[in-house]
């Protein structure tokens, strides 16, 4: 596993394999003059899970919206295979009129995958997130955690090479959140995608990532890049190891620096 230093001052990057996602001095100024991002450079390779932490309103989500082309940057360039993006929203964004199975099928359906193959892929994705037995339930019959799993399964169906997560577990309780952290890490290992994850939670960031990027607010810029050297699989005990605490403290300090 290789880590490469990434920050807005160090944009010259040595990569061992072609990056799945790279930003080169990306800037974003909204029409109302808000400078959401300034000279953000980063690159993520397959097998890397990069988390961005930062104060609310610092432009973290904008980063994902640019990567997925929901928004166009006003400066710099972004390289990504647009046909191979998985995007997980803040809320589960399920269609309430569709059952779990039909929700998981949705993205494949929009890509014109034939019915038989769609069903097969959906079944596999549902299995991966542990929702088997709930295929015929409607979203309103599920808990928040299960809805998020269905949302994950929907993105997994097309086996994307890059996964973008926009604070997907922010609305869940601590216990469900930690459980889903473990499950997502399992998926990351077995599916081998490149991950870009946005969160408010320092512990979540350190626990899941190969690298944590700290963002400052207004304009959003990456002020620190902290490598997380723990190997995979990671287990819950890791959260109570002193090294884990030290890395959390490091991220926390960097965040405070970003604030002032």
């Amino acid at each position: 596993m290789q880590y490469h230093a990434v920050s807005n001052t160090e944009s010259d990057i040595m990569t061992l394999q072609p990056a799945a996602l790279s930003f080169h001095e990306v800037s974003m100024v909204f029409p109302d003059g808000t400078r959401a991002l300034e000279n953000v450079s980063l690159s993520i390779s397959p097998g890397e899970f990069v988390t961005v932490v930062g104060p609310s309103g610092c432009g973290k989500s904008t980063l994902l919206r640019i990567a997925s082309n929901l928004e166009t940057a006003t400066g710099g360039s972004c390289n990504i295979d647009r046909d191979s993006i998985g995007y997980v929203f803040q809320d589960a964004t399920l269609m309430p009129w569709r059952t779990v199975r039909r929700n998981v099928e949705l993205i494949a359906e929009l890509h014109g995958v034939p019915k038989a193959e769609r069903l097969e892929r959906a079944a596999r994705a549902i299995e991966l997130v542990g929702l088997n037995g709930f295929e015929d339930k409607y979203p309103r019959q599920l808990s928040g955690g299960m809805r998020m799993r269905a949302s994950l399964a929907r993105s997994l169906v097309m086996q994307p090479k890059v996964f973008l997560f926009d604070e997907p577990f922010g609305a869940l309780d601590e216990i469900t959140r930690e459980r889903l952290n473990d499950e997502l890490m399992g998926l990351f290992q077995s599916q081998g995608f490149a991950g870009l994850f946005i969160t408010h939670s320092i512990a979540e960031a350190v626990y899941m990532s190969t690298k944590v990027l700290v963002m400052s607010a207004r304009p959003g810029a990456i002020t620190a890049a902290i490598d997380i050297p723990f190997g995979f699989p990671r287990t819950h005990d890791l959260r109570y190891r002193p090294e884990f605490g030290e890395l959390c403290a490091q991220v926390s300090h960097a965040l405070r620096g970003a604030h002032s």
């Binding site: 997925s68 082309n69 929901l70 993006i85 995007y87 929203f89 803040q90 809320d91 964004t93 269609m95 309430p96 009129w97 569709r98 949705l106 993205i107 359906e109 929009l110 890509h111 991966l128 997130v129 542990g130 929702l131 037995g133 709930f134 339930k137 409607y138 979203p139 309103r140 019959q141 599920l142 808990s143 955690g145 299960m146 799993r149 459980r179 473990d182 499950e183 890490m185 399992g186 998926l187 290992q189 077995s190 699989p233």
Partner: protein
């Protein structure tokens, strides 16, 4: 593969909130019905002065003379009331069909273009509040045939709720749901059929039920102004009873027109539960 994913998620499933019919659900309507009959008796045999009591026969008089007399020639009896009710029901249902098709098409168009929405709204509101009575000479001058004239009245009276509710529903899909479709490069048609239309269904059914009730009113009102010989609509029948002071028949005809409205309303409530009850939470207003 992750072994961490073997937690049994059945613990997380929330209970179905299916409604149970309780005694109170039946008791309520029964009490209100008893009150209604009581007030009616009070009006017809106490409050009204004796020489005006022919205007409002008592409930048992109405049952005896209106419901239990089948046919006595002229237009008296339950049979001619049923016949004219059927005539009005046909007008109401055909008119409602036109309203649904035109109204939903209009709402769909309005949802795609903001300027079209703005340009159309004032006229829809105007149609909704225009007194049909004042338009009757114009309608008569423009359209031949009482059937067509009555259908036009039905459409004019019932179209507003279906347009406004469908439009509101089509625009109700969440931003993130739209973005999900945008990310997959979905076409406008796909977005409409797979996102906006299903999202609009709960609102469409609300609109349908209101429009259906109005279509019945429209048919009865249309009968008043546009009638021909032969079998006439229930509205025309009511007008005849009114002018001849046949109180029992008049009340019977009014009750039957209300029953028609009620049946249509209940039908659409049932249809709505069948179509979207599984995923849409509606416990009130049914």
């Amino acid at each position: 593969m992750s072994d961490s994913m073997n937690i049994d998620p059945s613990l997380e499933v929330l209970p179905d909130n299916r409604e149970r019919t309780r005694v109170a659900d039946l008791l309520g309507p029964a009490v209100v019905f008893a009150l209604f009959i009581g007030v009616w008796y009070l009006l017809s045999s106490v409050i009204l002065p004796e020489h005006k009591r022919f205007l409002l026969p008592t409930p048992h008089q109405v049952v005896k003379e209106g419901f239990l007399v089948w046919h006595t020639g002229e237009r008296r009896g339950f049979y001619p009331i049923l016949m004219s009710l059927w005539d009005s029901a046909k007008v109401a249902l055909i008119g409602l069909g036109i309203t649904i098709v035109v109204g939903m098409a209009l709402a769909t168009l309005m949802s795609t273009r903001r300027w079209l929405e703005r340009a159309t709204w004032p006229y829809l509101v105007a149609v909704q509040s225009a007194p049909i009575l004042a338009l009757t000479p114009l309608i008569r001058a423009l359209i031949d045939g009482s059937m067509k004239q009555r259908l036009l009245v039905v459409v004019l009276i019932s179209i507003f709720p279906i347009v406004s509710n469908t439009l509101f529903g089509l625009l109700s899909a969440e931003k993130s749901q739209h973005e999900l479709f945008t990310l997959q490069g979905a076409s406008k048609w796909t977005r409409l059929t797979k996102l906006q239309f299903p999202a609009a269904l709960p609102n469409i059914f609300v609109g349908l039920r209101i429009s259906a009730g109005l279509a019945v009113i429209g048919a009865v009102v249309g009968d008043f102004y546009f009638r021909q010989g032969g079998v006439v609509g229930i509205g025309a029948q009511i007008d005849v009873y009114r002018s001849r002071l046949w109180g029992a028949e008049l009340i019977t005809a009014i009750i039957m027109a209300s029953v028609l409205g009620l049946v249509v309303f209940l039908f659409f409530g049932w249809l709505s539960r069948r179509a979207i009850g599984k995923w849409h939470i509606t416990t009130r207003g049914q």
